[in-house]
Symmetry: C2
């Protein structure tokens, strides 16, 4: 039985390589993908694979910064790069009893400013 860490590592390797058959096998037929920032949802393996292929057609790359797995849960932090821009992508995963990805919650934080009330408490890098 693959660990949650191993499954998520394989998931990102398959996505990175556009190996959509392997990618599809790693997710449940009933997979649910949710992005709370946009309140968008994709349900089911075929629609989710299609979302990944057609939704992101560019010459993007990704690098895994961190994967943490525990039991049927995992979290990942990847660096997504497209047209010279870099975006951190953060996901929380639930796996089903067959070690397939059953639920993904996906976050894409964007650059922002430190509130003025806190600038004296931090340094910048």
């Amino acid at each position: 039985m693959a660990s949650a860490h191993q499954v998520v590592a394989a998931y990102w390797a398959a996505a990175k390589n556009r190996d959509w058959l392997t990618f599809a096998e790693l997710v449940s037929e009933q997979v649910v993908y949710e992005a709370p920032q946009t309140r968008k949802r994709v349900c089911g393996r075929a629609p989710f694979v299609r979302f990944n292929i057609e939704g992101f057609p560019g010459d993007w790359h990704l690098a895994v910064e961190r994967i943490v797995g525990e039991g049927q849960h995992a979290a990942s932090w990847v660096q997504f790069s497209d047209a010279g821009a870099h975006y951190p992508g953060l996901c929380f995963f639930n796996l089903d009893e067959d070690s397939r990805v059953a639920h993904i919650t996906d976050f894409w934080p964007t650059p922002s400013e430190v509130p003025a009330a806190r600038t004296h408490l931090v340094e910048r890098y």
Copy 2:
């Protein structure tokens, strides 16, 4: 030896309860906190505790949505609430050999829109 999951659960319980003595004991004297969205950084236990106390003076609450721990790493997803607004907060943690929090990378994703090119691939919730 506490697991990374247990340490991060104690960290958020202490923050939620404004128990800053317990909070301070859970982090390394050399703790480094970084927020990539603002490129802000806080180094050291005393400045980091001060940042948490003085930087967030309101009547906020937090609820842990998920903690995932593996070895010396952990990730958390908390729901931060302040003045009727709710924000997801996502952290990746490194622990030192004494199971203290040595490094925190903190993300605060904000609401956004689905790009028009992808609206036909998703549903909304």
